[in-house]
């Protein structure tokens, strides 16, 4: 734990792609075992923010502290850090040439050096928890989108991360498959996993989040408890965004 009691702490984080500033002076604190939801329109910087925390993107200003360690400094072991931070993407990104079991055991075996037998036993236990143990030896393209995304979550969990970043993980799914994925995320939240998730599922955000941040053009326009944001937004931009989402039938 860092000294100020936050598990993740972003201070004045700025990120540019060329001349375009996609994140501007982002300050965000996440306490351990809490779930923070990032909401906002496409292109508001939610995905970039998550990628910066996993160092998949380099930031141009500010600092990020995870578990008491300043990860944006120079003397950081990126690979070791990423084993502590799981990330799940919108497009699953499973490895198509590997079976489900191989997908899940790759990082434990090669990055952590765990023996094959041990890694497979652990992977099967994780797959059993999500009811996909019978799919262990199949290739990803034989699974439904929802199943693939659940495998992707399990793959990210297999290295024993302390923080999970979920990047619009239900956006590519058919509506009837979203439920099973959200159920898994709900269980993760209940188990005390610290999470930051970018999502368009407002009712889900309202249910699991301890804090909701509304991102707008690279800035955290408003943050608060789900009740504050969804029932009594202070900012005009937040109200407009929520009204648009509501019209889309997503709340």
């Amino acid at each position: 734990m860092s000294t100020d009691g936050h598990f993740v702490s972003l201070q004045g984080v700025t990120k540019r792609f060329g001349d375009l500033e996609v994140l501007h002076d982002i300050n965000l604190d996440v306490a351990e075992h809490k779930v923070v939801c990032l909401i906002g329109a496409s292109g508001s910087g939610k995905s970039t923010l998550l990628r910066c925390i996993n160092l998949l993107e380099q930031i141009d200003g500010g600092s990020i502290v995870v578990d008491g360690q300043t990860i944006t400094g120079t003397k950081i072991d990126v690979n070791e850090l990423r084993q502590k931070i799981g990330i799940v993407f919108q497009a699953y990104n499973l490895f198509p040439h590997m079976t489900v079991l191989q997908n899940v055991t790759l990082a434990p075996r090669k990055a952590l050096g765990i023996s094959r037998a041990k890694a497979e036993a652990h992977a099967r236990a994780l797959l059993r928890q999500i009811g996909l143990e019978d799919k262990a030896d199949e290739f990803p393209d034989r699974l439904s989108g929802g199943q693939q995304q659940r495998v992707a979550i399990v793959r990210a969990l297999a290295t024993g991360p302390k923080l999970m970043l979920l990047d619009e993980i239900t956006s590519a799914l058919d509506p009837q498959l979203i439920g099973e994925v959200l159920e898994l995320v709900r269980e993760l939240a209940e188990s005390g996993m610290t999470m930051i998730l970018a999502t368009h599922e407002m009712s889900f955000a309202r249910e699991v989040a301890s804090k909701v941040c509304f991102l707008d053009a690279g800035v955290i326009r408003e943050e608060g408890t789900p009740d504050e944001i969804f029932s009594a937004p202070r900012e005009e931009r937040t109200r407009q965004f929520l009204a648009r989402v509501l019209e889309g039938g997503r709340l």
Partner: protein, 234 residues
């Protein structure tokens, strides 16, 4: 017409020339196998170097590009003579007598340049999100390449790879010009002894019979892999 048939397809000359051509063709086979093995490994290394990220790897990338530019652009016949010329300087154990080695070096230099591009196309065809997913799990750059990118890349380039190897096999016929006694040399010897070109026909048949199985083999392994992946599902 009779004259034509006699010159290229005389049964007597077929029988008489075949043992001699076969002797020569075995040299083609040996050069081909050694060069192909070297090309497979060296081209992969070169393709990896060309894909290295970061400013620090800039000079290495530039060298790799320079290499492919030079050896893809120079005709094999010239490279053969240049290698022969280099060998006569008697550096690193080479000489005008190390015929087999000289031939392997020339073919390897040229075909490595081609095959590097094939590998590179394969590596670039793997979506960046695959590499990102591997890195996000804590795998290093090289581990991501080894376990995630290359298996998918190589799988995709097997057909063009085999195609380049068919080219290499045929180009082993050119090594006769630097003094290697192989199938074409033997055919030339036969034709000057008997004033008949059936020996060249025999040599051509050997080359054709070598490439057809290779082409069928390529088809076969592609189909087999597809079937295996599909079968896993049911």
């Amino acid at each position: 017409m009779g004259q034509f048939l006699h010159t290229f397809f005389s049964p007597l000359d077929f029988l008489r020339a075949t043992p001699q051509i076969w002797n020569g063709f075995q040299v083609n086979l040996e050069v081909m196998v050694v060069a192909e093995a070297l090309v497979l490994v060296l081209a992969l290394l070169l393709a990896i170097v060309r894909g290295l990220p970061g400013r620090a790897a800039g000079p290495l990338r530039a060298l790799a590009i320079l290499y492919t530019d030079i050896f893809r652009g120079t005709p094999l016949v010239l490279v053969l003579y240049i290698v022969l010329g280099f060998a006569t300087l008697n550096y690193v154990g080479l000489s005008a007598e190390t015929l087999f080695t000289n031939a392997v070096i020339a073919l390897t230099l040229v075909y490595t340049a081609y095959v590097t591009e094939v590998y590179r196309a394969g590596i670039e065809s793997v979506h960046p999100s695959q590499r990102m997913a591997a890195r996000s799990l804590g795998l290093s750059y090289l581990q991501s390449l080894r376990y995630v990118v290359l298996p998918q890349a190589i799988r995709r380039v097997v057909p063009p790879l085999l195609n380049d190897f068919i080219g290499l096999q045929k180009d082993t016929a050119l090594i006769s010009i630097i003094g290697v006694t192989e199938a074409v040399t033997q055919a030339n010897i036969y034709s000057s002894n008997y004033f008949n070109y059936a020996g060249h026909t025999v040599a051509a048949v050997f080359f054709i019979f070598l490439t057809i199985p290779l082409a069928r083999f390529t088809d076969h392994i592609i189909r087999q892999r597809e079937r295996r992946e599909r079968a896993q599902a049911f």
